[in-house]
């Protein structure tokens, strides 16, 4: 019988903080080569109380199956990336376990690995998507000038520290898994399938964690699957951790991709058409879908006007760690390329980027129907004013043209960059808004203690859920503090992946449940229970209505200005100041979160995939960051997600600023001194 679990709501925020008297520790032993076939696994003699699980010991489906995914929980014969889990070990003592894992010999016949996108051949392309709007062919034929750009996003720093892991506790013919995951029912189904158990015999519980790497869907399911396999084989609770000091869990995040963009301009410099090709590196396994590709492509023109668009998206398989791709990381990659291309077009047109962007804005971004100014224009105006962008841009541009040589000028090289971005709002293209319908459910009980108890599978992220759910129940008479029950697949109804949109829908449902309970409560015996479900399809909401329908999500807009200084001798780029103006409705409380997000985004743009945290996360070295909130009349109360804005806007503004400072065309992140040096050498040739 398993020991009673300490209630993790008390103080334990992370899986690693869960403790139990009879827990065994679990660990994954990983492949030493990037590609090859396993010839032999030599295990050291295991002391009493220790046990191992191999791929052939898996009782059920060995593959992690989500839409498009084919990743095995443990590889049996073929190694597809360095660090792929091959074997699981468990035992009562952590130190002994680590030394046993180090003593395991995995002999492989190594084959040639594909580690770069340039090396991927036709067989490595797993999906391709072509989309077009208008007549791009004619637009390019009629054009006066075509501007081409190629942009690269390399492995970026993960910037996470929370160790990943899961706890699996077998008791009374069921298996309880404690894990930090945003979709607990998806995890339950995967584990049930892995162990060939019915879904009723697997229970997933989520402690109250805040935003952390532990929530990443596939990694979390993989860790939970490993813990479940060990607990199932050993018949006792297992706490599995991915060694925080190990290489394997520090894989780089972000979209690794290559983007080619061509823009057709007429004689007056107006954009006639855009062609874009995006090749996304998905790593060793297909962990993302065509939907994700479609999502990325929907952001292809950013918030700029363009009637004729042709985009080609490709998913390329390489021998690297499966990429943790999501809609926001792929959109950020596309936004990066689009913004840099716009900066290049502004330069070619000999216009200040502010003036160029104002002229090219979509009508919708520039001005809302019936209103004078639009959200993007307002954010742009505020950022430019607060940072004194135009004067600085002109001054640095003048310095740049007077410079005779790139090398060793007597003063530091300075530049300023500007970018615009939008979250949760696609461009004007008809192929945008790709989200599929989903169902949200909630159960609300008025218990014998006369308190409301709310049951939902939405996982708390950044206190957003608690605030919204409590506010939704505020109308219920006598209710002050509803009890938000912990997420447990045994007790809460399934609402799918936790997101702001789902949280908002469930808040509305809680309000309706409260009204129902209010009507039923007079004279009725307690407890009373009511459930509500809603199937909704975001894409069915006409785009024009998105701003007026509440509390559905709508776009949040931001303009970012980044000032940089490049050391003339070492070419090390450093950030002096960042100003971000945000139009996101009533998001004033989120200044601290946005500032932190800006520093993280800056870290991703500058700190090549390394284990160490980037220097900007140190309070001594962080640049000055200011966030300005822009309030648009009639949009103040709109609750809008804004957390991805830094990722969408900072990198492009930073690279534009470094380009201006050095006078070089720079088109890649992470941007390091070595990259600047390479560009410099290429320019001198």
């Amino acid at each position: 019988m398993a020991a009673k679990m300490t209630d993790p709501r008390a103080q334990e925020l992370f899986i690693d903080d869960l403790t139990g008297a009879d827990y065994a520790y679990g660990i994954a032993v990983r492949a030493p080569v990037a590609r090859g076939s396993i010839q032999k696994i030599e295990l050291p003699e295991l002391p009493p109380g220790f046990w191992a699980v191999r791929a052939e010991d898996i009782p059920g489906d060995p593959l992690l199956r989500s839409s498009g995914s084919d990743m095995p929980f443990l590889t049996g014969s073929q190694v597809c990336y360095r660090g792929e889990p091959v074997l699981l070990l468990a035992g009562p003592d952590r130190e002994t376990l680590i030394s046993l894992a180090e003593a395991v010999q995995i002999r492989c016949r190594e084959s040639e690995a594909v580690t770069r996108l340039e090396e991927v051949n036709a067989g490595g392309l797993k999906a391709e998507l072509h989309l077009h709007e208008g007549d791009p062919e004619k637009a390019f034929q009629d054009s006066y000038q075509i501007v081409e750009g190629s942009y690269t996003l390399g492995p970026q720093n993960p910037l996470g520290r929370a160790p990943q892991g899961a706890v699996a506790v077998p008791e009374n013919r069921t298996l309880t898994v404690w894990a930090a995951v945003l979709d607990p029912f998806f995890m339950r189904d995967q584990i049930a399938s892995l162990l060939a158990l019915s879904q009723r015999r697997v229970r997933v519980r989520v402690p109250r964690v805040r935003q952390s790497r532990e929530e990443q869907a596939l990694t979390a399911v993989l860790a939970a699957g490993h813990a479940a396999l060990l607990a199932n084989a050993g018949g006792r609770p297992v706490k599995l951790f991915y060694e925080p000091r190990g290489e394997a869990c520090w894989y780089p995040e972000g979209s690794r991709c290559r983007i080619r963009q061509s823009t057709a301009l007429d004689r007056e410099g107006k954009i006639l058409g855009v062609r874009m090709e995006i090749v996304l590196d998905i790593g060793a396994y297909r962990t993302c879908t065509r939907g994700l590709l479609r999502d990325a492509l929907s952001a292809v023109c950013g918030i700029y006007r363009c009637a004729n668009i042709e985009v080609v998206g490709k998913l390329a398989q390489t021998s690297t760690h499966p990429a943790g791709l999501s809609g926001s990381t792929t959109r950020a990659a596309v936004a990066f390329a689009t913004e840099l291309q716009q900066a290049r077009l502004a330069e070619i047109s000999q216009l200040d980027p502010y003036v160029w962007k104002q002229e090219q804005l979509q009508p919708r971004a520039a001005a809302l129907p019936g209103r004078r100014g639009g959200p993007a224009a307002a954010a742009l105006e505020r950022a430019v004013t607060a940072s004194d962008f135009c004067r600085k841009y002109a001054a640095y541009a003048a310095m740049n043209t007077r410079r005779r040589t790139y090398l060793a000028p007597p003063h530091p090289l300075r530049g300023v960059g500007l970018s615009l971005c939008v979250q949760n709002e696609a461009g004007e293209q008809s192929f945008s808004l790709p989200a599929s319908p989903r169902t949200c459910s909630v159960k609300v009980c008025l218990e014998a203690d006369k308190r409301l108890h709310i049951y939902s599978s939405i996982v708390e992220t950044g206190q957003r859920r608690d605030t919204l759910f409590t506010a939704a129940a505020a109308g219920f008479s006598e209710e002050r503090n509803p009890v938000l029950e912990p997420v447990d697949t045994l007790t809460v109804p399934d609402s799918g992946y936790s997101s702001l949109e789902a949280t908002l829908e469930i808040s509305r449902l809680i309000g309706k449940c409260c009204q129902t309970l209010e009507k039923r409560r007079s004279g009725a015996a307690l407890p009373l229970e009511t459930r509500r479900s809603l199937r909704f399809a975001p894409e069915k909401v006409p785009r024009r209505q998105r701003d007026t329908r509440m509390p559905r999500t709508a776009g949040a807009w931001a303009a970012t200005v980044v000032e940089v200084e490049v050391d003339a001798e070492t070419l090390h780029p450093s950030c002096r100041r960042i100003v971000m103006a945000v139009e996101a409705g009533a998001a004033g409380y989120a200044r601290a979160q946005l500032k932190a997000g800006i520093l993280r985004a800056l870290g991703r743009a500058t700190w090549e995939g390394r284990k160490e945290p980037c220097p900007f996360t140190d309070s001594e070295l962080a640049p000055e960051v200011s966030v300005e909130f822009v309030q648009m009349p009639g949009r103040e109360q709109h609750c809008r997600a804004f957390d991805a804005l830094p990722d969408l806007g900072v990198a492009a503004a930073f690279v534009s600023a470094v380009s201006q400072a050095t006078g070089l065309y720079i088109d890649q992140i992470p941007l390091t001194a070595e990259v600047i040096q390479r560009c410099l050498l290429a320019a001198e040739k």
Partner: protein
């Protein structure tokens, strides 16, 4: 029981504790695994990030770098031992919203608490220096310091008001 283990006694949060472990076992593992004091967190494991900060004889020290044989005759205080500290409670409540994932919060809180024990009116420079051994991969430290500044200023005003 690991080979070569021995009994080691030290004062932890005001009480004497005895653990049976190898002399090279890290204080961090003793706190988290043997004594289940999980507010001292493991970050980098090499003394750089400050997630495992504890007070040892009044000095801030990274628990991941302290072997068990250093512990006899020392007085170790973890965040659990400071839970009755009013300054820390006020800081903890006000800083909570500034952290993102919160994994570094224990280390930052204990560093600030140690500063406030020595200096009731720290300057911005003092605050920055106090957390210079901490790093927050989420990038929240500037915001955390701003929030800490507000708490300290409020406390100072309150005390001045009481005196006058």
């Amino acid at each position: 029981m690991p080979a070569g283990s021995r009994k080691i006694s030290f004062i932890l949060n005001g009480r004497e504790v005895t653990v049976q472990c190898a002399p090279t076992r890290r204080l961090l593992d003793i706190l988290r695994q043997d004594l289940r004091l999980t507010l001292t967190r493991e970050g980098c494991g090499k003394g750089e990030c400050g997630a495992c900060l504890v007070l040892m004889d009044g000095n801030l020290i990274n628990a991941c770098l302290v072997p068990a044989f250093r512990l006899p005759n020392t007085h170790v205080v973890t965040l659990e031992g400071l839970s009755t500290d009013k300054d820390l409670t006020a800081l903890s409540e006000n800083l909570d919203a500034s952290f993102s994932c919160g994994y570094c919060s224990s280390g930052v809180l204990i560093a600030l608490a140690a500063l406030l024990q020595q200096n009731e009116s720290p300057t911005d420079e003092d605050l920055r220096r106090a957390v210079s051994g901490n790093s927050c991969p989420c990038g929240t430290l500037p915001a955390v310091l701003e929030a800490a500044r507000e708490v300290i200023d409020k406390r100072r005003k309150k005390r001045h008001g009481r005196k006058s």
